[in-house]
């Protein structure tokens, strides 16, 4: 057995590194979440340094739970994450089923489709909010102005002009505003992550039982019932995995929120933590613990699923 000791010891550097990486900052967050710790405070200078004598118990948690921003951030996080999940799964399944059969140029279409996934998040956000969605100079602004111009011209027509004068003048939408910026984020992340869903569903479709499918066709099953009773059940597990992995990634969405709106009214949990962390470390840490709990709820289910296949 002794000749097995060295080989097994080889995993210790990786384990130790990850252990330190996880435990040290996280236990600091846990500690800070129970004390009064405010960076700029001239009235109570003792609160500007972390110390046990500033113990606040669950005070920071109460403060965070009662703050309006926290409720908004949770709502916004859920809106963004759920919308993205819904859209990417629907688009992902449809596109995967569409391009899974061979057709001319299948390889190129795959390459075109997967590309958005490799665009760095900062570029994704800058590209969408400026060059595509800007209400004046972006494609959206140009398209809306173009449509309005055409309608204006049509209104001068002799007979049909009266009909076209009933058309409204379209107004471009500003996606940097409080009410709309979440939708801009949903759009750009859906664009980026739909390819991920497509890729995974396609991988899974390749292991679909073709004989079963042929039998179904011989029995007169239509395209819809093939999809409904064979393909969709086959995709159940990959869908669950896509949902969970994305949930974990998108709960910590940050760059897109920062770039689109600097969080004006469009905060999510990580953004709120960043804001608190400018001054009120206690509150930032308590919010951080909430974020950890939220992520863990998803992670436990995901890990259980992965664990089942791990040792096969």
């Amino acid at each position: 057995m002794s000749d097995r000791r060295l080989p097994r010891l080889l995993q210790t550097p990786a384990v130790l590194l990850l252990l330190v990486w996880m435990l040290v900052p996280l236990s600091m967050t846990l500690f800070f979440s129970f004390i009064r710790y405010v960076l700029n405070n001239t009235i109570r200078p003792e609160w500007t340094t972390p110390s046990l004598s500033n113990w606040r118990g669950f005070g920071n948690y109460e403060f965070v739970l009662n703050s309006k921003d926290f409720v908004l951030a949770i709502q916004n996080s859920l809106l963004i994450v759920c919308s993205i999940l819904f859209l990417t799964v629907i688009f992902g399944v449809l596109i995967a089923v569409l391009i899974n059969k061979s057709f001319p140029g299948q390889g190129i279409v795959r390459v075109l489709l997967i590309s958005p996934f490799f665009v760095m998040p900062a570029v994704n956000a800058v590209l969408w909010i400026n060059m595509i969605l800007d209400p004046v100079l972006g494609l959206q602004g140009i398209a809306v102005a173009g449509i309005n111009g055409i309608v204006d011209n049509l209104q001068t027509m002799p007979v049909l002009g009266g009909f076209f004068s009933l058309w409204p003048d379209f107004a471009p939408i500003s996606f940097r505003a409080t009410q709309t910026s979440a939708y801009a984020v949903i759009m750009m992340v859906t664009w980026q992550w739909t390819p991920f869903a497509v890729l995974i569903f396609m991988t899974s479709l390749q292991s679909e039982d073709q004989q079963q499918k042929e039998a179904a066709i011989l029995d007169g099953a239509g395209l819809w019932s093939q999809f409904r009773f064979l393909t969709l059940p086959h995709l159940g597990r990959p869908i669950a995995i896509v949902v969970m992995i994305q949930a974990i990634f998108h709960l910590s969405l940050y760059a897109e929120i920062e770039i689109v709106s600097r969080g004006n009214g469009n905060k999510n949990l990580p953004y709120l933590i960043g804001e608190f962390a400018n001054n009120n470390i206690g509150a930032a840490s308590a919010t951080g613990i909430f974020a950890v709990i939220l992520a863990n709820i998803v992670a436990i289910f995901l890990l259980r699923m992965i664990g089942k296949t791990l040792m096969e």
């Binding site: 990850l18 600091m28 958005p116 597990r237 990580p270």
Partner: protein, 277 residues
């Protein structure tokens, strides 16, 4: 039978047309960015020059003057390369141990490693800033390399583990008979055999390092700032600099998108932790 006939007509014309339309639609924003990068800043916002314009390379030639592009690009290359190498140096022995000398705890260790990947980064934002500043590591290449390595280590170990597991144990054991020690086994038998798997793991880790946008932005200011930081800093040009911003963005993502085309399959493995086959 009518349905089968219908479906085949869809297969001949409808499927390719629809599939190409969707593919082009998804690629359009990237195409638009590349196209805009060849327009002058003035032309880029004029509707009359949407598709017809006089292409210019000035945005690319002025990247250094406008954005100091190469400094950020060099930082991205250095940190991503070293982080990838470092994660392989730590990850290969770990994956070797787990794949060829598993114990009862191996599965739990692997699962625990993955769980570290699922912690929200924002939760430890202040402690990380505090620690790195007090250790004098803030805004250093060393720190960025270390953080990127640790972020990717779980995926690297996991991917290597799945590749190593496919190698028959007997081949590795045969080395023992010849009196080769553990290091020799890794260096002379395992690495040459698993070369393809190691390479694709490295490629994927490199892409993830390059695109990382939380810690690279928050733990750097100037010295070790990467391309994510550069783009983030120019988030709102208010229409003035669409041309030059497109050029620098294209330069930042172009190489990675091309690399990405080559590792679609590995992506599935790396991101789903093998749960989808």
């Amino acid at each position: 039978m009518a349905i089968v006939a219908q479906s085949s007509r869809f297969g001949t014309y409808g499927r390719p047309v629809l599939a190409w339309a969707i593919g082009l639609l998804f690629f359009f924003p990237i195409f638009w960015m590349v196209l805009t990068s060849f327009k002058t800043d003035a032309d880029a916002v004029k509707p009359e020059f949407l598709f017809t314009f006089t292409p210019t390379l000035e945005n690319y030639l002025n990247m250094t003057a406008n954005y100091d592009y190469w400094r950020f690009a060099t930082n991205s290359v250095i940190t991503s390369v070293f982080a990838t190498l470092f994660s392989l140096v730590v990850g290969i022995p770990a994956a070797y141990a787990m794949a060829f000398n598993p114990s009862r705890a191996t599965k739990d260790v692997l699962m625990w490693m993955l769980s570290t990947k699922m912690l929200p980064a924002a939760a430890v934002l202040y402690p990380m800033t505090f620690l790195t500043k007090s250790l004098g590591l803030f805004d250093t290449h060393f720190l960025v390399v270390l953080v990127l390595c640790l972020i990717n280590l779980p995926i690297v170990v996991w991917m290597l583990f799945t590749y190593f597991k496919e190698i028959p144990k007997d081949i590795i054991e045969a080395g023992k008979m010849d009196g080769v020690n553990t290091w020799g086994e890794i260096r002379e038998i395992l690495i040459p055999l698993a070369w393809g798997g190691i390479a694709s793991t490295a490629l994927l880790a490199f892409i993830f390092c390059w695109n990382e946008a939380y810690w690279t932005v928050r733990l750097t200011t100037t010295d070790a700032a990467t391309l994510s930081k550069l783009i983030e800093g120019n988030r709102a040009p208010e229409g003035l600099f669409f041309g030059r911003l497109s050029a620098v963005s294209t330069a930042a993502v172009g190489p990675i998108v091309v690399l990405g085309w080559f590792c679609q399959k590995q992506l599935v493995k790396g991101l789903t932790f093998g749960a989808v086959k």
